[in-house]
């Protein structure tokens, strides 16, 4: 599980190109400049690629924060 | 207001020279005819700009020059005449007007060597070009101005109002739109074809600092262009003019929108200019 947790975090950092030292698990869509509409699509692509899943549109739209993402990924059997 | 002693006579002489060249070119056009009337109505405006107001010199490509756009491109006789007075176009080249392979056609075709900065002729496009240039000048921190002459009939085009809306949004206080309000378009008067209503109220409502004057009166034009107290709005000048101004046979006669100038009328015109 901690592997998945590290993976999840690193996908966030890499996809959104944010500084790993300023990363916070409270990060939300549109609250940091990097997580704008383009950042969001890049992040979704990174998560799909990284976890080998294909997310439904509704889930992509609802994926509004790091924490919300944890819930959503459970649907795809990714336990973090 | 101090009127520099020679300014207004200089402008008047320039106007006379323009009318002489316009007459010549119209005659040379022969059976191809020319847009005589609409060129004559803007003579005093063009004279005031080229001989007094605009920051220009003998280099048509001087980077620090003010810019001029003849959005009502069919009035090019006045434009070519002015460029000739500036020395950019030779008197000989003026005689090639509307001839095969000429650089001087019935609407301006871009030719920076001759001082023709843009191609115009399809109405409604010049003000947008002017906005692009005005924005560029501001970005480059130049204090140059952009002068665009539009026709009143041209204001039928929706694209004029797109530009009008944008210019005030961008606070382009370096942009002038001078509307040649000669009250006619091709097929008849504006009121017969598509009434413009109150042109000055329209421009004002679009956010332009709007003025009106007699566009064929050099003194009024001089006074307007001498005034340097302005707001941060673009400026619209509704110039009330007479189509075909300057010759008895063409004044207020819409037949002269586009017509043939015969030898007789050419001779008569020359006499009237004396």
């Amino acid at each position: 599980m901690s592997d998945n947790s590290e993976k999840y975090k690193s996908i966030f950092i890499e996809s959104l190109a944010i500084d790993k030292n300023s990363f916070s698990e409270n990060v939300k869509y549109n609250e940091i400049p990097e997580w704008d509409s383009i950042g969001h699509m890049t992040l979704m692509s990174g998560l799909e690629d990284g976890f080998g899943i294909s997310m439904e549109t509704d889930d992509i739209v609802d994926f509004s924060s790091y924490k919300k993402g944890l819930e959503i990924l459970k649907k795809y059997k990714i336990d973090i | 207001m101090n009127v520099a002693k020679n300014d207004i006579p200089k402008i008047k002489n320039f106007s006379k020279a323009l009318r002489k060249s316009i007459l010549k070119m119209a005659y040379i056009a022969g059976a191809s005819s020319s847009h005589f009337g609409g060129a004559l109505s803007i003579v005093e405006i063009v004279s005031t700009l080229f001989s007094f107001k605009m920051k220009i010199n003998n280099d048509p490509n001087w980077e620090d020059r003010d810019r001029f756009i003849l959005s009502k491109g069919h009035a090019c006789l006045a434009y070519y005449a002015a460029l000739s007075e500036m020395g950019y176009i030779s008197k000989k080249e003026l005689e090639t007007f509307e001839k095969n392979d000429s650089n001087l056609l019935g609407h301006p075709v871009i030719n920076r060597k001759l001082g023709i900065d843009f191609s115009n002729g399809s109405l409604g496009m010049g003000l947008s070009l002017g906005i692009g240039v005005a924005i560029s000048l501001k970005k480059k921190n130049k204090d140059n101005k952009v002068y665009v002459i539009l026709g009143d009939g041209e204001c039928n085009e929706g694209s004029v109002w797109e530009a009008a809306m944008a210019a005030s949004n961008f606070k382009l206080d370096n942009l002038y739109a001078i509307i040649d309000k000669n009250n006619f378009q091709q097929t008849g008067s504006n009121d017969e074809i598509m009434s413009l209503g109150s042109l000055d109220k329209k421009w004002e409502s679009f956010g332009w600092e709007t003025s009106s004057l007699n566009g064929n009166n050099e003194e009024e034009l001089y006074k307007y262009f001498s005034n340097n107290n302005h707001s941060n709005k673009p400026k619209a000048l509704i110039a009330n003019t007479i189509k075909g101004k300057g010759f008895s046979f063409s004044e207020n006669n819409n037949d002269w929108h586009h017509a043939v100038l015969t030898k007789n009328l050419y001779d008569q015109g020359l006499k009237e200019l004396e």
């Binding site: 383009i38 | 929706g158 797109e162 949004n169």
Partner: protein
């Protein structure tokens, strides 16, 4: 832009519009005099981040496309490197005369990017589809026309167009999850078609999103023992006539596949060249047969217009037998 597998996959997922936005952002970091003009479409063109990062290199003219082209020309005349973008029909047809006068006639250099061209927005109706843009712009002298095959080629096209000395129209097709045609870096040159697959019997010429479809078609045809070349004609104007000539020599039958009216687009351009060649093989033009159908999803419309893999395969097989 770093070209690696991960990024190529990411660009494919986000689609050509958002890829255009990212590419524009990178260009703005290097090109001082870049200006991007839009008509109230920043997010739709993937330019939100660009707009926030480089506000001084961005102008939104509101819903006024004719004005946009005039302003673009004015800026270009003063030395700026200008890109304009909005939805394809409004980028090309709404301001067509301004394109003719300012870009074609006056030769003010501008790169125009038409987003969501073809049938991608079919559920919004044909006002928001564009099946005419190539045909219309081909008639205006002086404008190169490029239709990138995938998101990666979108980046290549934009970089080339911005450096090019004449005006360019880039036609973006496809949607999100845009299939990948180019899996690794390659050389892109405006005007030079790229052969993606070798074959002995037929040549399929295609551009835009139909290139991937054409590759799939070739795979299916192989199963029917029909061997196809597939050529990505990313630049429809100027047309790479050497690529056409090669196909004329080596193939028994030619096909063009496009998400555009068969009148005026890639197929027409190829026909024009073939008309100068005696005894050229027949050309089957596959595309939209000069009609506005009822609307629907992108896939629905492709199927309806015979642009699905199955329909194209059947069409080619029945016509090839006759040829």
């Amino acid at each position: 832009m770093i070209i690696n597998e991960r990024n190529i996959k990411m660009w494919s997922t986000i689609g050509s519009r958002a890829t255009f936005g990212i590419s524009a952002l990178e260009l703005a970091k290097k090109i001082n005099n870049l200006m991007i003009l839009t008509c109230d479409v920043s997010t739709s063109a993937g330019l939100d981040r660009y707009r926030k990062t480089f506000p001084e290199k961005y102008l939104d003219l509101g819903i006024a496309e004719q004005n946009m082209i005039g302003i673009a020309a004015g800026l270009s005349s003063e030395g700026y490197n200008v890109i304009t973008t909005t939805f394809a029909p409004f980028q090309t047809i709404r301001c067509c005369e301004q394109i003719k006068v300012n870009i074609g006639y006056m030769k003010q250099k501008i790169c125009m990017v038409g987003i969501a061209s073809g049938l991608a927005l079919g559920n919004l109706g044909y006002t928001h589809c564009c099946i005419e843009d190539i045909g219309i712009l081909r008639s205006i002298p002086g404008i190169s026309i490029i239709s990138p095959a995938d998101s990666f080629e979108t980046i290549k096209s934009l970089e080339a167009a911005v450096k090019c000395s004449n005006s360019v129209y880039i036609r973006l097709t496809g949607s999100k999850n845009n299939p990948i045609v180019y899996k690794e870096d390659y050389e892109f040159q405006i005007g030079k078609a790229i052969k993606l697959r070798e074959g002995k019997d037929l040549t399929i010429f295609s551009s835009g999103a139909m290139v991937y479809t054409s590759l799939k078609v070739a795979e299916e045809l192989e199963k029917e023992k029909v061997s196809c070349n597939v050529v990505n004609v990313h630049t429809i104007k100027p047309l790479d006539i050497s690529a056409i000539d090669e196909a004329v020599k080596k193939s028994k039958f030619l096909i063009s596949v496009e998400e555009h009216n068969i009148i005026g687009g890639l197929g027409s351009a190829i026909s024009e060249h073939l008309a100068d060649i005696s005894n050229s093989p027949k050309l089957l033009r596959i595309g939209i047969k000069d009609e506005y159908s009822k609307g629907g999803s992108y896939d629905f419309l492709k199927e309806k217009h015979g642009l699905s893999v199955d329909k194209i395969v059947k069409n080619i097989l029945s016509n090839f037998k006759k040829a």
